[in-house]
Symmetry: C2
Subunit: 165 residues, 2 copies
DNA sequence: AATAATGATTGTGAAATGCAATTATTTCCT
DNA sequence: AGGAAATAATTGCATTTCACAATCATTATT
């Protein structure tokens, strides 16, 4: 049983990109995470093209959250996204404008709003789920099956830990 | 010898963030990468605060590339960053304006430019390296030593593979 | 009842980003 | 050699993103 992921570059082998060495960044988690984000986001944008939630960070998460948690408040979405409320408010504006979710004032707290998915929004959410799953299959197909769980677990762990800080 | 990373959440355990479930995103590489990027970038911004290369993606990489590759062309930097040339041009403008690098027309090709680090730029590059290393130590300290190489190798691999597409 | 805290919106300005058009130089092709 | 095509880079927008301050309404605290 192999202890290391399949076919990974050796630790001492320099990382060459476009013929250039990456200096300290070569050994930096932060660099790869930031660079990967750009590529993954670009790819996801392409896949979502035409769908009302295309481009930008947040709309997809917000839509799925509303679909999965009827009556959710904007501030709860802001907490997950780690964004401020003005930003989240405008995000919700666009989802409402596009007829994906609806916004009513909450019955138990009249300051708060209660967000619910519309039938159309639910359809879009379903399509979003399909696209996300498809991207996972197609875009990340180079990750060997036996490495997937471990890699995902590490990312999860990093995600949950860094959120705390 | 353990085969799995230390203390990782079980695969079937739902990921709860701010009390909410994440739907499909919970199992999506893309979600964690995108979310991690936001946190890591924010943290890096804080650490670089005051330094002429703070905030934004690209200045750090560009500075280190110029420092490590005297005479490098803007287009080479654009290739590494996967950005268009106008964008890269303006990035270089700011580095030049701040006295970190200097720009001359290349001798072998008068269309092209040749970028070189200034003494001040080199100093900043050194400080950037120290900060990056420090972030790796402090921010990612939750990754168990025995997991680090493997996690980094997976990220590297993902990075290199996704660049090809 | 007065004050503080909470949930959300509006206003605004600074950056980031992306596309099209332009200029200058070099390479390629007859 | 001469002209077309390709390459390196810049300039000029037009959009979008994003954060901060100020404001308004409602609820909680004392």
């Amino acid at each position: 049983m192999p202890e290391n992921p399949t076919d990974t570059p050796a630790q001492d082998e320099p990382v060459i990109v476009a013929g250039l060495r990456l200096d300290v960044l070569e050994g930096a988690f932060s660099y790869y995470i930031r660079a990967l984000d750009a590529v993954v986001s670009r790819d996801l944008d392409r896949r979502m093209e035409g769908l009302e939630v295309a481009r930008g960070k947040g709309k997809i998460t917000a839509l799925l959250l509303v679909d999965g948690h009827p009556g959710i408040r904007p501030s709860a979405i802001a907490a997950v996204l780690m964004r401020d409320r003005p930003w989240t408010g405008r995000l919700i504006d666009t989802l409402v404008t596009r007829g994906l979710i609806e916004r009513t004032t909450s019955t138990d707290d009249q300051r708060a709003q209660s967000l619910r998915i519309t039938p159309h929004g639910h359809e879009v959410a379903e399509r979003v789920r399909a696209i996300v799953r498809q991207q996972e299959r197609e875009f990340f197909d180079f990750i060997a099956p036996q490495d997937r769980d471990q890699f995902l677990a590490q990312l999860k762990r990093a995600y949950l830990r860094t959120r705390e800080q």
